[in-house]
C-alpha cells in the first residue's frame, strides 16, 4: 500500500513543472470481504414430503401439501398431485407441518455464549460509543452449545449475530447458517450483507454517561451519531474521489469503512430502538446523511408509528410479550406485532435470547392469537409465519435465496411433528440447504459442541 502512495505523491510534485501532468497512479481497490465465508453445503438426498400442512412463508398454506427438494434447493411445492422425482426419499407428513427454517434476526449466540462466564463475554466493545470498526464474527465462538438448541428445539436455520447495544455504533453483524463449524467462516451465510448495529436510548447513555463520557443523554446520543455520520460522508467522498481518479490513497479508518458501506447501501442498518419518538429521530438522521434504516430492533413502540415505518420501508423487529424490564420498554404491548403487520409495515419476531430462540414459533403464535382476540383482521397461521422467516430474510438481504418455500431457493426446511403454533409441537427434522441437520428419531443427527464432550449429559436430548 505504501509504494503506490509514495509514487502518487511524487507524481503530484512532478506535475507542478510539467506541461501535461503524468497520469495519477491508478486506485487500488480495498478488499471488502477479507474474512470470506467458507461454508459449503453438506450432502443431502432428493426428498419428497407428502400429506403435510405446508406454510410457504409468504402467507400461503397448502393442506395435504407436497414439498420436493434436492441438490440443496427447493425443487417444487404443491398439492397432493405433485409428482415425485425418480429415486426420491419419500417422507409421510400426515398430521405434520412443513415450514421454511426460522430465521432469527437478533441473536447473540457465539458472542455471549454458554457458559456465560466472563471469559466468554465477547459481545460488546464498551470502550468507546463509536465502534463500527469491530465485527461480531471475530467474537463468535462456534462451539457455543446454544447453536444446537436453536436448531433442534427451535427449527432455526439462519441467524444474525449482533454486537450488543451499549455503544451507539456497536459494530458489524454477521449472518450465519445454523450449521456447526470449526470456524465462523464455515458458518457464514454466503453473500449475506453485513449489518451495522446501532443503538438508541438508555443503553449507550447509561454505559458511557455513568462514566462522565459522552453520551450521557438522548440528545448526546444523537449529537455523537451525527458527528460520526458527518465524518463518514466526508470519508466516503474522499474514497469516491480516489477510486475515480486514483492518486494518493486516503488513510483507512475501520470505523469509517463500515459507515461508508452503509452510505453505499452495502451494509444494512440494524438499529436497536425502543421508543417511537426515538425511532422518528433516527429516521430523520438517516435522511440527513443519506442512508436507509433496514430495521428497528426491540421496537416495542412500533405500533405507535406503524404508519411511519411503513412509509419509510423500515421493518420492525419485536418480541411477542417482553415488557417493563426497563423504562423504555414500559409501553410494550402484546399486540405490537399484529398492529404493525396490520398497518402494512414489515413485522417480525426475534429472540435476543438463547432460550427464546428455541421458541420463536410460539412467540409468533402468541402475537397472532392476541392480535386475533383484539379483533385485528387478516391474521392466520400462514400469515404469521411471515414473521418467522420471510420478513427476517428480507431485513437481512437474503430473501432472494431463503425465507420462503419457493422453487429455486435454498432448501432450509423444518418438518414439525404437529402444528408449530401449538405448544405441543416440536421440530422433527431440520434441513439446511437440503442437508438433514436434525432428526428427532436419530440420536446421531443431533449436534454436540466440543464444549459438551465428556460432560454429564453429552448427546442427551436437550
Amino acid at each position: 500500500m505504501r509504494f503506490p502512495a509514495i509514487a502518487a505523491a511524487a507524481a503530484v510534485l512532478l506535475s507542478a513543472c510539467a506541461a501535461t501532468p503524468p497520469p495519477a497512479a491508478p486506485a487500488v481497490r480495498i478488499n471488502d470481504d477479507p474474512y470470506p465465508s467458507t461454508y459449503v453445503r453438506y450432502p443431502g438426498v432428493l426428498t419428497v414430503i407428502r400429506h403435510a400442512t405446508v406454510f410457504t412463508g409468504d402467507g400461503q398454506q397448502i393442506n395435504d401439501g407436497t414439498v420436493v427438494f434436492g441438490n440443496g434447493m427447493i425443487q417444487a411445492i404443491g398439492g397432493p398431485g405433485l409428482p415425485s422425482p425418480a429415486g426420491a426419499l419419500e417422507i409421510d407428513g400426515t398430521g405434520k407441518f412443513v415450514s421454511p427454517g426460522i430465521i432469527d434476526i437478533h441473536s447473540h449466540l457465539g458472542v455471549y455464549p454458554s457458559p456465560g462466564v466472563e471469559a466468554n463475554s465477547d459481545g460488546n466493545e464498551l470502550t468507546d460509543p463509536i465502534h463500527a470498526d469491530v465485527w461480531a464474527e471475530h467474537s463468535v465462538w462456534p462451539q457455543d452449545p446454544g447453536f444446537s438448541r436453536a436448531l433442534v428445539n427451535g427449527g432455526v436455520t439462519a441467524m444474525q449475530i449482533l454486537p450488543g447495544s451499549g455503544d451507539l455504533m456497536g459494530g458489524r453483524s454477521v449472518v450465519l447458517k445454523n450449521v456447526p463449524g470449526r470456524t465462523v467462516q464455515e458458518m457464514k451465510f454466503p453473500g449475506a450483507p453485513y449489518g451495522l448495529k446501532m443503538a438508541c436510548g438508555e443503553n449507550p447513555k447509561r454505559v458511557f454517561g455513568s462514566h462522565d463520557h459522552m453520551p450521557q443523554t438522548r440528545m448526546g446520543n444523537i449529537a455523537l451519531d451525527r458527528e460520526t455520520w458527518a465524518k463518514a460522508v466526508a470519508y466516503k467522498h474522499e474514497w469516491d474521489k480516489y477510486y475515480a481518479k486514483g492518486g494518493d490513497m486516503p488513510k483507512r479508518d475501520l470505523t469509517m469503512d463500515t459507515l461508508k458501506g452503509v452510505l453505499e447501501g452495502r451494509i444494512l442498518i440494524q438499529n436497536h430502538c425502543y421508543r417511537a419518538d426515538e425511532m422518528a429521530n433516527m429516521i430523520d438522521m438517516s435522511k440527513e446523511f443519506g442512508y436507509h434504516i433496514t430495521a428497528f430492533h426491540h421496537a416495542v413502540e412500533a405500533y405507535k408509528i406503524a404508519d411511519l415505518l411503513r412509509d419509510n420501508n423500515i421493518c420492525a423487529v419485536m418480541w411477542a410479550d417482553w415488557y417493563g424490564f426497563k423504562m423504555e420498554a414500559y409501553d410494550a404491548i402484546p399486540q405490537n406485532i399484529a398492529l404493525v403487520h396490520n398497518a402494512g409495515a414489515c413485522a417480525m419476531v426475534h429472540s435476543d435470547d438463547p432460550n427464546g430462540i428455541q421458541r420463536l414459533n410460539q412467540a409468533a403464535a402468541k402475537a397472532m392469537a392476541v392480535g386475533q382476540r383484539a379483533g385485528i383482521p387478516g391474521l392466520s397461521e400462514a400469515v404469521a409465519w411471515e414473521w418467522l422467516s420471510r420478513n427476517p430474510a428480507k431485513a437481512l438481504g437474503i430473501l432472494g435465496v431463503t425465507g420462503t418455500l419457493t422453487a429455486g431457493k435454498e432448501a432450509d426446511v423444518v418438518l414439525w411433528n404437529g402444528d408449530p403454533f401449538s405448544d405441543y409441537s416440536r421440530p422433527e427434522r431440520v434441513w439446511i440447504d437440503g442437508a438433514e441437520m436434525y432428526d428427532a428419531n436419530d440420536p446421531h443427527k443431533r449436534p454436540v459442541s466440543d464444549f459438551e464432550l465428556g460432560q454429564p449429559g453429552e448427546g442427551d436430548v436437550k
Binding site: 456465560g116 438448541r149 410479550d321 417493563g324 426497563k326 404491548i333 403464535a365 397472532m368 416440536r426 436430548v461
Partner: protein, 461 residues
C-alpha cells in the same frame, strides 16, 4: 366471609370484597390436582371458596351462572418462584424496584411483604393472563441469605398478602459462593454459623401460647412475627462471637425450628446432594430446593428425601458451570423418579413474565413426543403450575386446586390454558371477578387506529 375478622387478620388472608355465588357450567374443567381435563364440567364458587368442581355438580339456587361452553376452567396459575409485585420497572428506574438491597446491613431479616405493590403493572399483566398467586422471593444481595419471601395474590385490591414471611430464601450454589466471599466452603460455613447464632437465640423464645395467657408486656408479645420477641427480650445476651445482626439471627429461628420453610437455590447435582445432607443433619428444618437444573442426575436421592423441588422448566443450556447437564427433560425425569416437583421462574424475568409458566408447562407436555426425552402428562403439567408449588410452600389444600374449601382462584380460558394461543377471559380471586385491564390494554385502545383526529392521542380515551 364466614371466618371471623380476627381469624382473617391472623392468617392475613385477602378476603373478597364482593364474593358471589357463581356456577360456571358446561366447561372443560381441570382441577389442578394432576388429573386430566373433564368435559362438560361445572365449578361452583361461594363465599370466596370452591364448593365443587366436576361433572354432575348441581348449580345452587340463586347462583350467577356463567356458560362455559367451549371454554376451559382451571385454578389460577400459582407462580412457583417469582419476584412479582416487587418491581414495576426492573432497570434504570430507581424507586420502582425492591427486589434486592445492595446497601442494607440486613439479610435474613428482610421481609418482602411490605414492598408488594398491588398497583404495579406486572401484577395486573400477570393477572390478565391467569396468574392469581405467586411465591415471591427477595434477591440475595451480599449474603447467602436473601430474606423472607411471601405468598401473594394478584387481586385488584390493596391486600395482596396471602402469607407474609412464608419462607426464608438462601443461595448455596454459585451465587451463594460468590456472596459468601468466593467459594462454596465459605457459603457452608456461613450457613452453619447462621444456624448456630439462631440456635443461641432460641433460648429466648417466648412460646406463642403465652399470647393467650394475657399480654403483660407488649414488647415481649409474640405477635405475628415471633422472632421479634427475641429482639426485645431483656435477657437476650448473645455471645461475642457473632456475624449476624440480631434481626437476622432471629429471623432464622423459625427456619431452624421447622416452622418456616427454607428455600435453597442450587443447580448443580453435587450441590443438591449437599442440601440433602444438610436436611439429614437438621431434620427439623423444612427444605425446599429451588432451581435444580441438574436434578435429574440425582433424581432418586431427591425422591427419597421427600424434599420438594421448584425447578426451571426449560433450562437446556450449560448457561453456567452449575448447569452443565441442563436438559428440558429434567422435570420429567425428576417427576418419573417420584420427586415432588413444580415449576418456578428462576432468573427468568420472574418479576414480569411469570405468565410464561403455562407455556413452559405445555412445552413439558410436548416432550412426551420426543424420542429420548421425558415429558409430563397434561394433568401433571397443570399441577406443576397450580397445586404443586402451593404444596411445596406449605399452602397445599388452600390454593392451587379446584377442591372444596380452597380459595376460589378460578380462570376461564378461551381454550386449553397450556397453549399460548389461549387467553384468560375471566379471572376470579377469592371468588371475586377481577378487572383485566392494565397499562397495556389502555395503550392498545389508544393506538389501535393511527388516523389523525381533531385532537392529539393524549385526549383520546
Amino acid at each position: 366471609m364466614i371466618r371471623s375478622v380476627a381469624t382473617a387478620l391472623l392468617l392475613t388472608v385477602a378476603m373478597p370484597a364482593a364474593a358471589e355465588t357463581i356456577a360456571i357450567t358446561h366447561a372443560t374443567v381441570a382441577t389442578g390436582d394432576g388429573s386430566g381435563p373433564i368435559q362438560n364440567g361445572t365449578v361452583v364458587i361461594r363465599d370466596g371458596r370452591i364448593v365443587a368442581a366436576g361433572q354432575g355438580v348441581a348449580v345452587p339456587a340463586g347462583a350467577r351462572v356463567i356458560d362455559g361452553t367451549g371454554k376451559w376452567v382451571t385454578p389460577g396459575i400459582v407462580a412457583g418462584f417469582s419476584r412479582l409485585g416487587l418491581t414495576d420497572v426492573s432497570g434504570g428506574a430507581a424507586g420502582a424496584n425492591d427486589e434486592r438491597a445492595d446497601k442494607s446491613p440486613f439479610n435474613a431479616a428482610l421481609d418482602v411483604a411490605p414492598a408488594i405493590n398491588p398497583n404495579y403493572q406486572p401484577i395486573k399483566v400477570n393477572r390478565a393472563d391467569g396468574v392469581t398467586r405467586a411465591v415471591v422471593a427477595p434477591q440475595a444481595a451480599h449474603n447467602i441469605f436473601a430474606g423472607q419471601g411471601a405468598v401473594i395474590d394478584t387481586g385488584a385490591d390493596m391486600d395482596p398478602i396471602t402469607k407474609a414471611r412464608a419462607f426464608q430464601f438462601v443461595e448455596l450454589g454459585e451465587t451463594g459462593a460468590e456472596n459468601a466471599g468466593g467459594s462454596r466452603p465459605s457459603a457452608y460455613v456461613l450457613f452453619r454459623n447462621a444456624l448456630r447464632e439462631a440456635a443461641e437465640l432460641t433460648r429466648f423464645v417466648n412460646p406463642v401460647s403465652s399470647s393467650a395467657a394475657g399480654e403483660p408486656d407488649a414488647r415481649l408479645r409474640p405477635i405475628q412475627n415471633p422472632n421479634e420477641s427475641r429482639l426485645y427480650s431483656r435477657s437476650a445476651d448473645r455471645s461475642q462471637d457473632v456475624l449476624l445482626t440480631r434481626f437476622d439471627a432471629a429471623a432464622l429461628v423459625p427456619v431452624l425450628q421447622g416452622r418456616q420453610p427454607l428455600l435453597v437455590h442450587v443447580e448443580r447435582a453435587s450441590d443438591i446432594l449437599n442440601v440433602l445432607e444438610l436436611a439429614r443433619e437438621f431434620p427439623r428444618m423444612k427444605f425446599v430446593i429451588v432451581g435444580a437444573t441438574e436434578g435429574w442426575l440425582v433424581a432418586d436421592q431427591l425422591a427419597k428425601s421427600g424434599i420438594p423441588v421448584i425447578a426451571s422448566a426449560m433450562n437446556d443450556l450449560p448457561a453456567s458451570f452449575e448447569e452443565i447437564a441442563a436438559t428440558q427433560s429434567n422435570i420429567g425425569r425428576m417427576r418419573a423418579a417420584g420427586v415432588k416437583v413444580s415449576i418456578g421462574m428462576i432468573d427468568d424475568d420472574e418479576s414480569h413474565r411469570d405468565f410464561y409458566e403455562r407455556q413452559y408447562a405445555g412445552n413439558l407436555v410436548a416432550l412426551q413426543k420426543i424420542p429420548g426425552a421425558t415429558g409430563v402428562s397434561w394433568g401433571d403439567a397443570l399441577a406443576m403450575i397450580t397445586s404443586k408449588p402451593a404444596e411445596a410452600i406449605g399452602l397445599g389444600g388452600e390454593i392451587g386446586r379446584l377442591s372444596p374449601g380452597e380459595h376460589a382462584d378460578v380462570v376461564i380460558w378461551s381454550g386449553d390454558p397450556l397453549e399460548v394461543t389461549s387467553g384468560a377471559e375471566q379471572v376470579f380471586i377469592d371468588g371475586v371477578q377481577q378487572p383485566l385491564d392494565d397499562h397495556q390494554s389502555r395503550l392498545l385502545e389508544r393506538y389501535r387506529y393511527l388516523q389523525r383526529t381533531d385532537l392529539p392521542k393524549a385526549y383520546r380515551p
